[in-house]
Amino acid sequence: MRKGLDRAFTACVAACAAAVCALVLGIAGAIVWRGMAVLDWHFVSRLAAGGGGAGGVLYEILGTVILVVTALGICAPLAVGVALTETVYLEGREHRRTRRWLFSGLYAANSIPSVLLGIAGLIVFSRWLGWGKSWLAGGILLGLMILPTVSVALIERLRSLPRKYLEAAAGLGLSRSQVIWSVHLPQSLSGLVSGLLLGLARAAGETAPILFAAAVFSGAGIPVGIRDSPVVALPYHIFVLAQDSLDPAVQDHLWGAAAILLGMVFALSLLALPVRLRIHEEAKSA
């Protein structure tokens, strides 16, 4: 009886895991399979045509790259600042409450629905600053969106630094900032890079933050200047076309665009994955 229950339990949880793995393979498989039919050099090197449902997606790819690189520039310094504040400047018992607030704040910020960022961007950048739709607004919003993820990844890494490194640095008489520049930052670089890659993977695929303040469906090339310089981007392209997907030609185009987007996102996450899993386990066992 108990043996039977044990077997049933194992079978049950194994089935769950198998279902999840099948989902991943199924999703990736479906998109690669259907996308392969349209993916070729022309698709990535030509401009969209025929109302967006034909031609290639060159500008959409470039626009996504522009947004992601801008997000990187916005997010990286802020994340380093937040992580150093949390682990170095708020070290010790007397700051426990502040540190808790900060950490809860990161959780809360991470949970903010991305569409709210998009609407806040509409008010602040489009309305107050008069930017209209701008690539910079999109980059800033995406950078803010991934800030909590990247900060937490870096904090995990900083927390798992071997104590003896810090003690040795302190023993050499280095000041706190010297310790930061010579131990904390170089030693946690892998955490920063993998956290950023993961964040950027998320930023590349997000639609909601760029919905109102940054992206247009057509009529934008490489943006020049800030005011009224929208971008076209892959996720937004898919989002708009998907609402009009009955036409089979548009469907092919959609699968192709989805395959490229998924390829970009998976490439970024796969680069980050090995380091991330290792750091996460270390941080847990530390």
Binding site: F9, V20, Y89, G105, S111, L116, E206, F212, Q251
Partner: protein, 301 residues
């Protein structure tokens, strides 16, 4: 020499604390922004805004209950599917699989977490809709755009969150406890359910709550498959029928064209921003509750 060291000390410190302050101000500012911008509708409709079941902006009638219902309905479907699936997978990786092969499953889950929501939406349109029509045939849906479609899609999207956090919670239980349980003659299932799961229970609840937080706030994927029909306030709240109908959630309303239409009319705009404020408050509350459950320094994902 000493002098430059000093200066860099100041710079590093000032930059770190300054950037943290900027980040904090941005997110607090957002909350204030939604609060202030939604003031007109609170003055106009008062509590009727959150208890009203009709939304007709042309006659300035603003009640958010149908959308709140939509949000709760899709999230409930998502949780009912995703929590067993995610927690089950976590049991498999934390209690059954040997340490080395865990990473394969965790890598797969991590990849699933990375799939952009617009791609889930696309798959929902092209593949899930037809399936849902067949699944719900008994309730005769008008099309594949139903609350059920949105909920099922959300379920797939929050499985990674639930699984990762549940796995963290379970693997946080010391191995000694498992050994002790096994040596007392408990089977693996009993060890997992009676020892590990009991100890990790707050963590498991937290995983479900943080998954719920994600489900409540997800926009794009749900937007594409839910039909976006206003004023779908069901006659009987607990019946299954409304799940086979199209609907609207707080997020799909916010992401839709009405946000642009509302732009010129302060009251209408306030009503839209009010949706944002309610969503903001609920999601933050749920996520903070989830975060509070796991002890400081424990689960962080």
């Amino acid at each position: 020499m000493r002098n430059t060291g000093r200066r860099r000390l100041e710079l590093t410190r000032v930059a770190s604390l300054g950037f943290t302050a900027i980040a904090a101000l941005v997110f607090l500012g957002m909350l204030v922004l939604f609060g202030v911008q939604s003031l007109p509708v609170w003055r106009y409709a008062g509590l009727g805004y959150v208890t009203g079941t009709r939304w007709f902006f042309r006659v300035h009638e603003f009640g958010i209950l149908p959308m709140a219902y939509g949000t709760l309905a899709v999230s409930a479907v998502a949780l009912v599917v995703a929590v067993p699936l995610g927690v089950g997978t976590a049991f498999f990786t934390a209690e059954v699989l040997p340490h080395r092969s865990r990473r394969v499953v965790k890598a797969a889950v991590e990849l699933l977490a990375g799939v952009p929501s617009v791609i889930f939406g696309l798959l929902g349109i092209l593949l899930l809709r037809d399936f849902v029509v067949k699944l719900l045939a008994h309730w005769e849906p008008l099309s594949g755009d139903t609350l059920m479609t949105g909920g099922l899609l959300l379920a797939v999207m929050i499985v990674p969150t639930v699984m990762t956090l549940a796995d963290d919670a379970l693997s946080g239980v010391p191995a000694d406890h498992r050994l002790a349980a096994r040596s007392l003659g408990l089977t693996r299932a009993e060890t997992a359910l009676k020892v590990a799961a009991r100890q990790a229970f707050p963590g498991l609840v937290s995983a479900a709550l943080l998954g719920l937080g994600r489900a409540l706030g997800e926009t794009i994927a749900v937007f594409l498959v839910i039909g976006r029909q206003d004023n779908q306030w069901p006659e009987r709240l607990l019946s299954f029928q409304p799940l086979a109908n199209a609907g609207q959630t707080l997020t799909t309303k916010l992401g839709g064209s009405e946000t642009f239409i509302a732009y010129g009319d302060p009251l209408h705009w306030g009503a839209i921003m009010g949706l944002g404020l309610v969503l903001f408050a609920v999601v933050t509350g749920v996520s903070l509750a989830g975060a509070r459950l796991v002890t400081w320094g424990g689960n962080r994902a």
